[in-house]
């Protein structure tokens, strides 16, 4: 669909990091996808097929979808069941998240614009947690041509965050499914840094894919609440219902929306799942990532480090006060330039 085109089109048009951007499209053909101010990740075009996207594209090929999987007819039919409204809404959400991510490197971004976009994202999110469209999307996925193993991985990862979850959930993969980049992006942009709580790896991975599904969002929020302390407690109390995908939740508080999570290393269990998740990601560029993410210490990153870096390590304010985030990025950039001697 146009979504991915937009994702990268906007990325190319809006960001001023042109030189870095061309450098960062590496030889493997990975495209740079900026998850947040702090994190870039590489998305394999072959992985960007995203059955979801394909379905919603109604058969139109996307620019980057070189190796995408073809879907069966029945899945296309299932896709069309999904209302165009939710498609548009999702597309709007993705667009908004991209806009929030991309900001000019050198000049402070426009605060009014950022606030308006963030409010739009919040609105969409609130609505998505209320309406019943997520069921149709789930059903649509059931008939996808996704390899069972992938689905299982995702489901397994998701399931770990809860006692049991019989319903097939949507995929939580960070970089596998092309469409999910936006969701991860969504996560990042809406996550502030002020709290770093021990959330399990599982929870993170699980929550990423869930984020934009109606009840899953609330599930994740509840998971987060369960694990984090009262920084988000200013929101409503939500009953812990980790299994029911159909429950509707009260409106999310801003705190929950702007909640944060941080992955700690060393969680047992989901290692293999995460390894698999990130096996496609070219780690050789993580050094560059860390430079761009503003991390002061730049060890060679492994898959957990990527997750780690998803929650910025310094307590900079949230998306709506860009200057502080900007500065670290620029400082590191500056330092790297000196080191590299450019």
């Amino acid at each position: 669909m146009e979504k991915l085109k937009m994702l990268f089109g906007l990325a190319v048009n809006e960001a001023k990091l042109t030189s870095q951007r061309t450098r960062l499209k590496n030889q493997n053909g990975f495209h740079l996808c900026r998850l947040s101010r702090e994190v870039y990740t590489f998305v394999s075009p072959s992985r960007m097929s995203g059955s979801l996207l394909n379905m919603f594209s109604k058969g139109t090929k996307r620019k980057f979808s070189d190796g995408d999987e073809e879907l069966s007819d029945e899945s296309l039919v299932g896709a069309r069941v999904a209302s165009s409204y939710s498609l548009q809404r999702q597309s709007l959400l993705d667009m908004s998240l991209i806009k929030l991510q991309l900001c000019h490197m050198l000049v402070e971004p426009n605060l009014c614009r950022s606030v308006l976009i963030a409010n739009t994202v919040r609105q969409i999110q609130e609505e998505m947690t209320h309406d019943g469209s997520w069921h149709m999307v789930t059903e649509a996925f059931c008939g996808t041509g996704q390899s069972p193993s992938e689905r299982l991985v995702a489901t397994e990862v998701l399931c770990r965050s809860r006692e049991q979850d019989a319903e097939p959930k949507l995929f939580s993969v960070i970089s596998y499914e092309g469409c999910r980049e936006e969701e991860v992006v969504a996560d990042e942009t809406l996550c502030s840094v002020s709290v770093s709580e021990t959330v399990s790896n599982v929870c993170l991975a699980g929550r990423i894919g869930q984020c934009w599904e109606k009840s899953e969002l609330s599930d994740v929020e509840r998971d987060e609440e369960a694990l984090e302390d009262s920084r988000l407690g200013s929101g409503e109390d939500e009953e812990i219902d980790t299994e029911d995908g159909a429950s509707t939740e009260g409106p999310k508080t801003i705190g929950q929306v702007f909640g944060t999570f941080e992955i700690k290393n060393g969680s047992p269990g989901p290692d293999s799942a995460l390894e698999e998740l990130f096996s496609d990601v070219d780690t050789s560029y993580y050094d560059l990532d860390t430079m761009l993410t503003g991390m002061q210490s730049a060890p060679k990153m492994g898959p957990y480090d990527l997750l780690d870096s998803l929650a910025p390590s310094h307590s900079s304010p949230s998306i709506v006060s860009p200057p502080n985030c900007r500065s670290d990025l620029n400082e590191l950039d500056h330092i790297m330039e000196i080191i590299v001697g450019s």
Binding site: Q88, V107, C112, T120, S321, S327, H334
Partner: protein, 460 residues
């Protein structure tokens, strides 16, 4: 001059109306390069007439200010009274670098406001994102000659070579216009300044950024008072920013500020030192039938202007112009659709960021008409008395000076007539954001991307 203008404007029956596609307005001048290749620094970002209308100041993204002066010989001739020539050009703001945040501070001029003239010199305030400057523009047409110790070219004469003494006298010289910065008001704004407004007391002015409004005294640069602060304790809870602010033209204690949520607050500085509590809140309830995800964005106030009388206030949001009676907070007294045909295009406009464009608006000198810009280099005029509106185009190709502009219509389907254009054919890169109306005459100045257009109303 006032009464003759009123005659032109109110005597509508004898001038061609919109029915025959002609307006009363004609192009007077176009300033700036006419080629398509526009340097970023030349893009105009501020347009403002002074209080007499004799001077017209423009600011650009390169931090320069160009002041035009009404041609003195022809300003009394009705046909060519809107002739403006360059009077002074100077660099107001330079690009800066904030070392603490490692960010550039753009030199782009955001706003220009003239001070009422008190003596022979002219004063204006200009601001970029962070710093406001007070500029004095003065003329020099005489210079002292006949010094005893100095030659005419400036070399010093040896005292021993003096045999007589003379008194230096002023001799006429070619007119020189000098602009000198008299005050620099810096370091008072964390966020980007979007408005400045001179108070009617002629001593103070306000500057507004996204979250705060500061009150300055013109004479003091080292202090300013914060009068509005909407920054939340937790920045994550930020959902609303200040977008525009203005002092009341007559009451020196009253000012308004518009927000990104579509509300305008009127504050009285007598009530408290920090005017976070508004005295009046002007907000129109949202129409649920038109609600969409873009509702908030398009309701964001891009400009707020008091009428000259001080009784009304005009707000511009993305699609409409609203006139408010200051006595009634619940809803505007008049609402004008600027480009309602864009309502179905909001998603595309959101995608290309056009939905965040901030259009200015302005009142005619007698408050009977208002004007604002649109896309495709169109601008819209709304006659409040006659309840008529017209769409005109700022284009140097289509109008010869003196020739009345034709009015346009934007249609949603295919175009049927000559002066129609389809919505899908509009050029969203050509937009008129900055406009100013001569305070006493029917001359308007507006800026397209890099050109300044001056239109005048045909005299009867």
């Amino acid at each position: 001059m006032w009464s003759s203008c009123w005659t032109y404007s109110l005597n509508l029956s004898s001038v061609p109306g919109d029915g025959d596609g002609q307006s009363r307005w004609c192009l007077s001048q176009v300033k700036g390069a006419v080629d398509d290749d526009v340097a970023e620094a030349d893009i105009i970002s501020a347009v403002e007439f002074n209080h007499s209308g004799e001077l017209l100041a423009t600011g650009d993204r390169g931090g320069r200010i160009v002041i035009f002066q009404q041609e003195q010989e022809s300003k009394n001739l009705p046909q060519c009274r809107a002739e403006y020539n360059v009077y002074s050009t100077f660099q107001s703001h330079e690009p800066e670098f904030d070392y603490l945040k490692s960010l550039e501070i753009e030199e782009k001029i955001n706003k220009i406001r003239w001070l009422p003239q008190k003596n022979a010199a002219h004063f204006l305030l200009s601001t970029n994102d962070k710093t406001i400057k007070l500029w004095k523009i003065s003329e020099r047409d005489k210079r002292p000659e006949g010094y005893n110790l100095k030659e005419e070219d400036g070399r010093y004469r040896h005292p021993s070579s003096l045999t007589t003494l003379r008194v230096p006298v002023f001799q006429p010289m070619d007119l020189m216009v000098e602009a000198s910065p008299r005050r620099v008001y810096a370091n008072a704004h964390t966020y980007h300044i979007n408005s400045i407004s001179v108070n009617s007391d002629n001593e103070t002015y306000l500057s507004a950024d996204d979250l705060r409004i500061n009150l300055w005294h013109l004479d003091f640069t080292d202090r300013s008072f914060n009068i509005v602060d909407i920054k939340p304790a937790n920045m994550e809870e930020l959902t609303e920013v200040i977008t525009a602010s203005e002092f009341h033209p007559l009451q020196c204690n009253t000012f308004v500020y518009g927000s990104s949520k579509g509300s305008v607050r009127l504050c009285d500085m007598r009530a408290s030192a920090l005017c976070d509590q508004h005295s009046k809140l002007f907000e129109e309830p949202e129409d649920p039938s038109t609600r969409s995800f873009f509702s908030e964005i398009i309701s964001s106030i891009s400009d707020v202007k008091f009428s000259h009388s001080g009784r009304y206030m005009m707000t511009r949001d993305y699609l409409t112009l609203k006139i408010w009676d200051l006595h009634m907070e619940s809803r505007p007294v008049e609402t004008y659709q600027v480009h309602g045909y864009l309502r179905s295009k909001l998603c595309s406009l959101y995608e290309n960021d056009c939905i965040f464009d901030k259009f200015e608006c302005c009142w005619r000198g007698d408050d009977s008409e208002v004007m604002t810009g649109s896309y495709n280099n169109f601008f819209r005029m709304f006659n409040r008395d006659a309840q008529r509106d017209s769409t005109l185009e700022a284009s140097w190709e289509n109008g010869s000076p003196g020739c009345p502009l034709k009015t346009w219509r934007v249609c949603t389907g295919s175009r049927r007539k000559r002066n129609e254009i389809g919505v899908d054919c509009l050029d969203f890169s050509r937009k008129i954001l900055y406009t100013s109306w001569h305070p006493q005459d029917n001359i308007v100045a507006l800026a397209t991307v890099n050109n300044l257009y001056i239109f005048q109303e045909k005299p009867n």
